[in-house]
Protein backbone atom coordinates (compact mmCIF):
# COMPACT_ATOMS: atom_id res chain seq x y z
CA UNK A 1 0.00 0.00 0.00
CA UNK A 2 1.46 3.39 -0.97
CA UNK A 3 1.59 6.47 1.29
CA UNK A 4 -1.50 8.14 -0.19
CA UNK A 5 -3.62 4.99 0.19
CA UNK A 6 -2.40 4.50 3.77
CA UNK A 7 -3.25 8.14 4.58
CA UNK A 8 -6.67 7.61 3.00
CA UNK A 9 -7.36 4.65 5.28
CA UNK A 10 -6.00 6.54 8.30
CA UNK A 11 -8.42 9.44 7.73
CA UNK A 12 -11.30 7.02 7.01
CA UNK A 13 -10.64 5.49 10.42
CA UNK A 14 -10.66 9.01 11.97
CA UNK A 15 -13.98 9.72 10.26
CA UNK A 16 -15.69 6.53 11.41
CA UNK A 17 -14.28 7.00 14.93
CA UNK A 18 -15.49 10.62 15.01
CA UNK A 19 -19.09 9.54 14.33
CA UNK A 20 -18.96 7.07 17.23
CA UNK A 21 -17.20 9.45 19.59
CA UNK A 22 -19.87 12.13 18.99
CA UNK A 23 -22.75 9.68 19.48
CA UNK A 24 -21.14 8.09 22.56
CA UNK A 25 -20.59 11.55 24.11
CA UNK A 26 -24.28 12.32 23.52
CA UNK A 27 -25.35 8.98 25.04
CA UNK A 28 -23.13 9.63 28.09
CA UNK A 29 -24.73 13.08 28.45
CA UNK A 30 -28.16 11.41 28.44
CA UNK A 31 -27.07 8.83 31.03
CA UNK A 32 -25.58 11.50 33.30
CA UNK A 33 -28.72 13.68 33.03
CA UNK A 34 -30.92 10.65 33.77
CA UNK A 35 -28.91 9.92 36.93
CA UNK A 36 -29.17 13.53 38.15
CA UNK A 37 -32.94 13.71 37.54
CA UNK A 38 -33.49 10.37 39.29
CA UNK A 39 -31.40 11.44 42.31
CA UNK A 40 -33.27 14.76 42.58
CA UNK A 41 -36.67 13.04 42.37
CA UNK A 42 -35.68 10.57 45.10
CA UNK A 43 -34.40 13.36 47.33
CA UNK A 44 -37.56 15.47 46.85
CA UNK A 45 -39.84 12.46 47.45
CA UNK A 46 -38.03 11.79 50.74
CA UNK A 47 -38.38 15.45 51.67
CA UNK A 48 -42.15 15.37 50.97
CA UNK A 49 -42.58 12.14 52.98
CA UNK A 50 -40.62 13.58 55.93
CA UNK A 51 -42.73 16.73 55.96
CA UNK A 52 -45.97 14.70 55.82
CA UNK A 53 -44.84 12.65 58.84
CA UNK A 54 -44.12 15.73 60.98
Amino acid sequence: MNDAAARNFEYLAYGLSAVWVILVIYVLTLVSREGKIRAQIESLKRMVEDREKH
Binding site: A5, L23, L30, R33, I37
Partner: protein
Protein backbone atom coordinates in the same frame (compact mmCIF):
# COMPACT_ATOMS: atom_id res chain seq x y z
CA UNK B 1 -42.72 -3.54 27.05
CA UNK B 2 -41.71 -0.16 25.61
CA UNK B 3 -38.25 -0.58 27.15
CA UNK B 4 -37.88 -3.98 25.44
CA UNK B 5 -38.88 -2.51 22.06
CA UNK B 6 -36.27 0.24 22.47
CA UNK B 7 -33.57 -2.28 23.40
CA UNK B 8 -34.62 -4.41 20.40
CA UNK B 9 -34.37 -1.42 18.06
CA UNK B 10 -30.95 -0.52 19.49
CA UNK B 11 -29.65 -4.07 19.02
CA UNK B 12 -31.06 -4.19 15.47
CA UNK B 13 -29.38 -0.84 14.64
CA UNK B 14 -26.05 -2.07 16.06
CA UNK B 15 -26.27 -5.35 14.10
CA UNK B 16 -27.09 -3.53 10.86
CA UNK B 17 -24.22 -1.09 11.41
CA UNK B 18 -21.71 -3.88 12.04
CA UNK B 19 -22.89 -5.67 8.89
CA UNK B 20 -22.73 -2.44 6.84
CA UNK B 21 -19.24 -1.51 8.08
CA UNK B 22 -18.04 -5.02 7.27
CA UNK B 23 -19.58 -4.84 3.77
CA UNK B 24 -18.29 -1.33 3.00
CA UNK B 25 -14.75 -2.21 4.08
CA UNK B 26 -14.46 -5.68 2.54
CA UNK B 27 -16.97 -5.94 -0.35
CA UNK B 28 -17.26 -2.48 -1.90
CA UNK B 29 -14.38 -1.43 -4.16
CA UNK B 30 -12.43 1.83 -3.63
CA UNK B 31 -13.84 4.79 -5.53
CA UNK B 32 -11.79 5.35 -8.68
CA UNK B 33 -10.53 8.89 -7.93
CA UNK B 34 -10.85 9.26 -4.17
CA UNK B 35 -9.83 5.81 -2.97
CA UNK B 36 -10.80 4.45 0.45
CA UNK B 37 -11.75 7.81 1.98
CA UNK B 38 -14.87 7.91 -0.24
CA UNK B 39 -16.48 5.38 2.14
CA UNK B 40 -16.92 8.21 4.63
CA UNK B 41 -19.93 9.24 2.49
CA UNK B 42 -21.85 6.28 3.98
CA UNK B 43 -21.88 8.10 7.32
CA UNK B 44 -21.52 11.73 6.20
CA UNK B 45 -24.72 11.84 4.08
CA UNK B 46 -26.97 9.59 6.24
CA UNK B 47 -25.96 11.67 9.30
CA UNK B 48 -27.13 14.81 7.44
CA UNK B 49 -30.37 13.10 6.36
CA UNK B 50 -31.03 12.00 9.95
CA UNK B 51 -30.34 15.52 11.25
CA UNK B 52 -32.69 17.04 8.64
CA UNK B 53 -35.40 14.45 9.45
CA UNK B 54 -35.08 15.42 13.13
CA UNK B 55 -35.26 19.15 12.31
CA UNK B 56 -38.35 18.52 10.16
CA UNK B 57 -39.95 16.63 13.06
CA UNK B 58 -39.09 19.62 15.30
CA UNK B 59 -40.80 21.94 12.79
CA UNK B 60 -43.97 19.81 12.78
CA UNK B 61 -44.04 19.51 16.58
CA UNK B 62 -43.38 23.28 16.88
CA UNK B 63 -46.42 24.01 14.71
CA UNK B 64 -48.40 21.37 16.64
CA UNK B 65 -47.48 23.06 19.96
CA UNK B 66 -48.55 26.51 18.74
CA UNK B 67 -51.92 25.15 17.62
CA UNK B 68 -52.63 22.82 20.60
CA UNK B 69 -50.50 24.20 23.52
CA UNK B 70 -49.80 20.56 24.41
CA UNK B 71 -46.49 20.37 26.31
CA UNK B 72 -45.89 16.85 24.94
CA UNK B 73 -45.26 18.50 21.54
CA UNK B 74 -42.66 20.72 23.20
CA UNK B 75 -41.00 17.69 24.83
CA UNK B 76 -40.87 15.95 21.47
CA UNK B 77 -39.50 19.07 19.81
CA UNK B 78 -36.56 19.46 22.22
CA UNK B 79 -35.83 15.71 22.02
CA UNK B 80 -35.62 15.58 18.23
CA UNK B 81 -33.64 18.83 18.09
CA UNK B 82 -31.00 17.53 20.50
CA UNK B 83 -30.64 14.25 18.60
CA UNK B 84 -30.59 16.14 15.29
CA UNK B 85 -27.74 18.30 16.59
CA UNK B 86 -25.69 15.20 17.47
CA UNK B 87 -26.11 13.83 13.94
CA UNK B 88 -25.50 17.30 12.47
CA UNK B 89 -22.20 17.42 14.38
CA UNK B 90 -21.30 13.99 12.98
CA UNK B 91 -22.04 15.29 9.48
CA UNK B 92 -19.87 18.41 9.94
CA UNK B 93 -16.93 16.55 11.48
CA UNK B 94 -16.89 13.73 8.90
CA UNK B 95 -17.11 16.37 6.16
CA UNK B 96 -14.06 18.16 7.58
CA UNK B 97 -12.05 14.92 7.71
CA UNK B 98 -13.04 14.09 4.14
CA UNK B 99 -12.17 17.64 3.01
CA UNK B 100 -8.71 17.40 4.59
CA UNK B 101 -7.84 14.50 2.28
CA UNK B 102 -9.62 15.56 -0.92
CA UNK B 103 -9.24 19.38 -0.80
CA UNK B 104 -6.18 19.56 1.45
CA UNK B 105 -8.02 21.83 3.90
CA UNK B 106 -10.22 21.20 6.92
CA UNK B 107 -12.76 23.93 6.12
CA UNK B 108 -13.78 26.44 3.47
CA UNK B 109 -16.47 29.09 3.66
CA UNK B 110 -18.47 27.87 0.68
CA UNK B 111 -22.30 27.94 0.54
CA UNK B 112 -22.91 24.34 1.62
CA UNK B 113 -20.47 24.20 4.52
CA UNK B 114 -21.33 27.68 5.80
CA UNK B 115 -25.11 27.16 5.57
CA UNK B 116 -24.85 23.80 7.38
CA UNK B 117 -22.78 25.41 10.13
CA UNK B 118 -25.32 28.26 10.46
CA UNK B 119 -28.14 25.70 10.57
CA UNK B 120 -26.36 23.77 13.34
CA UNK B 121 -25.69 26.97 15.31
CA UNK B 122 -29.35 28.05 15.00
CA UNK B 123 -30.54 24.78 16.51
CA UNK B 124 -27.84 25.00 19.19
CA UNK B 125 -29.24 28.49 19.87
CA UNK B 126 -32.67 26.88 20.30
CA UNK B 127 -31.28 24.81 23.20
CA UNK B 128 -29.60 27.89 24.71
CA UNK B 129 -32.90 29.80 24.45
CA UNK B 130 -34.67 27.02 26.37
CA UNK B 131 -32.21 27.33 29.23
CA UNK B 132 -32.79 31.09 29.40
CA UNK B 133 -36.60 30.92 29.87
CA UNK B 134 -37.90 29.54 33.20
CA UNK B 135 -41.66 29.54 32.69
CA UNK B 136 -42.63 26.26 30.86
CA UNK B 137 -45.43 27.57 28.58
CA UNK B 138 -43.47 30.70 27.63
CA UNK B 139 -40.39 28.54 26.99
CA UNK B 140 -42.41 26.15 24.83
CA UNK B 141 -43.98 29.00 22.82
CA UNK B 142 -40.67 30.79 22.15
CA UNK B 143 -38.93 27.49 21.36
CA UNK B 144 -41.64 26.52 18.86
CA UNK B 145 -41.24 29.86 17.06
CA UNK B 146 -37.43 29.49 17.09
CA UNK B 147 -37.72 25.94 15.74
CA UNK B 148 -40.01 27.03 12.89
CA UNK B 149 -37.71 29.93 11.97
CA UNK B 150 -34.60 27.74 12.15
CA UNK B 151 -36.07 25.23 9.71
CA UNK B 152 -36.17 27.87 6.95
CA UNK B 153 -32.39 27.35 6.61
CA UNK B 154 -32.68 23.58 5.99
CA UNK B 155 -33.94 23.72 2.35
CA UNK B 156 -31.19 26.28 1.69
CA UNK B 157 -28.55 23.87 3.04
CA UNK B 158 -30.00 21.00 0.99
CA UNK B 159 -30.23 22.86 -2.33
CA UNK B 160 -27.20 25.15 -1.92
CA UNK B 161 -25.03 22.79 -4.01
CA UNK B 162 -27.59 22.96 -6.81
CA UNK B 163 -28.18 26.73 -6.65
CA UNK B 164 -24.58 27.92 -6.27
CA UNK B 165 -21.13 27.03 -7.50
CA UNK B 166 -19.50 25.43 -4.50
CA UNK B 167 -16.30 23.65 -3.63
CA UNK B 168 -18.55 20.95 -2.16
CA UNK B 169 -19.45 18.41 -4.91
CA UNK B 170 -22.65 18.90 -6.89
CA UNK B 171 -25.64 16.60 -6.09
CA UNK B 172 -25.04 12.90 -6.77
CA UNK B 173 -28.39 11.62 -5.50
CA UNK B 174 -30.79 13.84 -7.44
CA UNK B 175 -30.85 16.07 -10.54
CA UNK B 176 -27.99 15.45 -12.96
CA UNK B 177 -26.02 13.48 -10.37
CA UNK B 178 -24.89 9.91 -10.83
CA UNK B 179 -23.77 7.38 -8.25
CA UNK B 180 -22.92 3.72 -8.65
CA UNK B 181 -25.90 1.53 -7.70
CA UNK B 182 -23.88 -0.40 -5.07
CA UNK B 183 -22.69 2.81 -3.40
CA UNK B 184 -26.23 4.21 -3.47
CA UNK B 185 -27.63 1.02 -1.90
CA UNK B 186 -25.01 1.17 0.87
CA UNK B 187 -25.69 4.88 1.49
CA UNK B 188 -29.42 4.36 1.99
CA UNK B 189 -28.78 1.00 3.68
CA UNK B 190 -26.65 2.75 6.27
CA UNK B 191 -29.26 5.45 6.80
CA UNK B 192 -31.68 2.83 8.21
CA UNK B 193 -29.60 1.91 11.33
CA UNK B 194 -28.75 5.58 11.94
CA UNK B 195 -32.48 6.41 11.86
CA UNK B 196 -33.24 3.49 14.20
CA UNK B 197 -30.52 4.71 16.56
CA UNK B 198 -31.99 8.24 16.40
CA UNK B 199 -35.47 6.87 17.27
CA UNK B 200 -34.05 5.12 20.35
CA UNK B 201 -32.22 8.29 21.48
CA UNK B 202 -35.36 10.42 20.94
CA UNK B 203 -37.46 7.98 23.01
CA UNK B 204 -34.90 8.04 25.85
CA UNK B 205 -34.76 11.85 25.72
CA UNK B 206 -38.60 12.05 25.75
CA UNK B 207 -38.66 9.90 28.89
CA UNK B 208 -36.24 12.35 30.51
CA UNK B 209 -38.57 15.24 29.66
CA UNK B 210 -41.44 13.38 31.39
CA UNK B 211 -39.23 12.81 34.45
CA UNK B 212 -38.22 16.48 34.39
CA UNK B 213 -41.92 17.47 34.54
CA UNK B 214 -42.38 15.05 37.45
CA UNK B 215 -39.40 16.72 39.15
CA UNK B 216 -40.84 20.21 38.56
CA UNK B 217 -44.17 19.09 40.08
CA UNK B 218 -42.38 17.71 43.15
CA UNK B 219 -40.45 20.97 43.55
CA UNK B 220 -43.69 22.94 43.48
CA UNK B 221 -45.13 20.54 46.10
CA UNK B 222 -42.09 21.06 48.37
CA UNK B 223 -42.31 24.84 48.04
CA UNK B 224 -46.05 24.72 48.80
CA UNK B 225 -45.42 23.32 52.31
Amino acid sequence: MKQKILIGLGVLAAALLVRNIWTMLTQLPDEEFQGAIFRIIFFHVPAAFTAFACFFAALVSGIAYLSTQNLKCDAFSVSVTEVGLAFGAANLVTGMIWARIIWGIWWTWDWRLTSMLICWLLYAGYLVLRRAVEEPTERARLSAVMSILSFTVVPFVFFSIKWFRTQHPQPVLYGQGRMDANYRAMLFGNWVPLLLFAVVLIAVRMRQERRQRELDALRREVHAF
